[in-house]
């Protein structure tokens, strides 16, 4: 039977689910409702999850395309002891959350982006959100959050090696 790794947990895929979108599979079948549906056509970024640490718009990704891959959703971002990931904490500290509907997608987009850029400038961050819509915040505090997160992550790295 086909399997998929979701938030480090192996899931077996039933044949009847194979034609679903990844979004429906997560939300309806696994009840992982942290991933949101904003437009259904991959234009708003609310449904972004990470597939092998790359951002995918889950509403336009067929489940059959991600079999055997490693999926990270917003539910998988916390540490096992319940503490928050630095990106999640940065979103709180920067005031980057208003209605919160775009937040999970924004946080995961940030995650993938910071994997590639550890010292991002404002313009780079803005471009990273090219496929993401936030209607509440005007993006300013989200950009602040990305910068705070990048600094926190860097600092922690240094402390690891000291």
């Amino acid at each position: 039977m086909d399997t998929i790794l979701i938030n480090n947990k192996e899931e077996f895929i039933y044949k009847r689910h194979i034609d679903r979108s990844l979004l429906d599979y997560l939300r309806v079948d696994l009840n992982l409702t942290g991933t949101k549906n904003g437009c259904g056509i991959g234009a708003c970024g609310a449904c972004v999850v990470l597939v092998d640490f790359k951002p995918y718009r889950s509403c336009v990704t067929k489940l059959s395309k991600v079999i055997g891959k490693n999926i990270l959703t917003i539910e998988g971002l916390e540490n096992s002891d319940g503490t928050l990931h630095p990106i999640q904490q940065a979103f709180i500290d920067a005031g980057a959350v208003q209605c919160g509907f775009c937040t999970p997608g924004m946080i995961l987009t940030t995650y993938a982006f910071l994997l590639k850029n550890n010292q991002p400038g404002i313009e780079q961050i803005k471009k990273a959100f090219n496929a993401s819509i936030c209607r509440c915040t005007g993006y300013k505090q989200i950009i602040d959050a990305v910068q705070i997160a990048s600094v926190t992550i860097k600092k922690k790295n240094i402390s690891v090696y000291n």
């Binding site: 904490q89 005031g95 208003q98």
Partner: protein
Amino acid sequence: MEMIMNDMLLTNNTVIPLAKQKVRKRKRFIVCIKKPENKTVSSNSIKQSITIEKSQIDRQGRKSVFRNDAYLKVTGRAKYVDDLKTDQMAHCVPVYSDYVHARIDRINTRTCENAKGVIRVITAKDIPGASTYGQINMDYHMLADDKIRFNGDVVALVVAESRELAKSAAGLIKIEATELPAIFNPEEALAAEPIHDNMKSNLVNHYKIRKGNTESAFEYSDYVVEKTFNTTFVEHAYLETEGALCIPKPDGKMIVYGSMQHPFNTRKWVAAILGVKLSQVEIIGCSMGGGFGGKDDTAAIVCARTALAAKLIKRPVKMIYDREWSMRESYKRCPYKLQYKIGLSKVGHILAVQCKFIVDSGAYTSTVPWLTFRSIVHCCGPYKIANLKADIYSFATNNVFTGAFRGFGSPQINFAIEQMIDICAEKAGIDCIEFRRLNMLRQNSETITGQILRRHKVSIGEVLEKVVKTIGFKNKFKKCSFGKDQDEQYGIGLAMSYRGVSLGAEGSDFCSCIINGQFDGSIILETGIHENGQGAESAMILVLAECLGVNKARIRYAIPSTSHIPDGGPTVASRGTLVGSAAVTLAVKNLKRIMSKVLSDKLDCKPREVRFKNDHLFGKTDDIYISWDEAVKLMHQKHKYPFAFGHFKAPKIHWDEKTGMGDPYFTYNYNCQAVELTVNSKTGEIRLINIVAAHDIGKIVNHGMLEGQIYGGIAQGIGMTLTEEIIIKDGRIQNLNFNKYKVPKAVNIPEINPIIVENRDPDSPFGAKGIGESALEIIAPAIANAVYNATGKRYFSLPIKIQKTK
């Protein structure tokens, strides 16, 4: 480095974390004394704790940010309506027709009823209660019965075992109808047959203001400027679409979870369609993915239809809108045609204004009369005008209906008047800032409706000067291209406004609050305002903590329910912070009175001498105190509840519909924004460089969220100015999703520098006014003025599309 980064970020997914990531502890006020045994003990530590608390309360200049729901939202735990599930839940979808204006002959539902998984098909004849409803005119047909009035009318509902089955069966419904001539231009509406059978004509409403003598004032004018402006349909684009989950209870009550910004209004719609009393319907709040004025009527209607389905099939029913349905059916920002004629003296005084506005209300009335009331009383901006003739007309058409959208009738007005001001200044040969200074409202000035602005501080000059100085307007204005032949043309522009806060004379303005102190010292707070995503709950928690002198960690905001607290009116009109904080302040006053009466003996003082601060109750001096925990315990032991209700009723206001005179709002806030931009004359691209925004909001409650409102409001305003436009062809919307409807992305938003001005309002018990709408309402004219100063061309229509010169 990248490798380390990877490991760092992967800690949640791998078994071996490199470093344990801890939640950064927020600075929290800790009471230094655990439990004062003896109330007369003097202690340095408690004094020390007082200083800590003071530094927290004193937020001047400090950017604190607090959200009670942020943790839930960053972890994906927050539950929006589509995240809720229940046993036996069926799914409902709406059915539209391709018609725009037609008389329905027959709706054939048989094939659909027999389709796989379909439980029931519902049409208007199945409605047990009222089939039409509305906040002002009862003209909205919850399901189209006799006629289709616009392309977004819902003709039937399909209820099925799954959403997919309901959607696939919906296409099997056959609608036979006779097409009727349709009206799309409001200016042709008056001559056309009424869209609604019970209306005499398509005129929805007409308001006017007559002041002074415009005719003779124009005769005395040295210059007369006349211009016409147009604005368009704009979509709210809340990221979460409309939705509801309705659960019928055995006792006949209908429980409604939904995404809406006016639960009490929703309750009216639901009760109306079901034909039951208000007490039989309970609306329970859940997280809401944005509203911006757009989740009033349509959101309530979606809840009402879902409740109807649940009642008819006697099972829980969920209905979640697709983006295309939401954009097709939900009301939009009203398009305006604005004609202005302004007379000036040689030295630049505005002598007379004559204006006429034509508003497209679309197929239904919604809140257009209230909205046009706001437009007309603000129609001359923050300026002294002695002679005015103003008329606003709104008409029903077969376009998508229009209504509330952040700004509510002001952004359209400001787009025109603030450009007119720049045009007039140029005509009079006066610098646009000087021209504003010359004509603007001052303390004790009279507004166009005859209201004397004496009670609160008139700070339009203050916000103007702050913006001019911060952005360096004078020097930058000289550098503008003014249409010079160059690839990158530079311009700077500015606009300002005053805005009546809260509902004003358009509605009755009140709100209530319940504070419920628990035995263990925790506090449950509830108010009549609603969390739309803007941070209303957090603001109310902060206000309570500050007024009652307790740590905010004690306070939990109760899940709001229309069965618990009285109707607090809609959370619209930038009124949440004002009326909510007022109700909390007054409830705290009552609670303090109740507690002081019981506990003053213990504190060795008179009831009025008891002071509440730093999680303690103090007597005459700081040496005599009891902790909050102890105080509530004592209250309970004495069988006195630390429970209080408070309600705020806005000061009396009035507006005479016949003359347009009166005091339409009890207070105003003051706003000014300036923008720098470049226009690429080859591509026509407008690039915003920098925005400075000053707003007098009364009193800061939650600094970070306040700035968030400014950034977000400006971003929406930028969308309305440059990219957003609902395109309607023969009554059918062409851009029904975000691939074709362009809301601003991060790259479109420039640096924004917010300047907060605090002038506490004497009529607001907490001093706060509001920000939500002011942030959005003047960026369009500021951009338009800057574009003019860059290109030398004036753009009279929204959205601004640059004519390429090369």
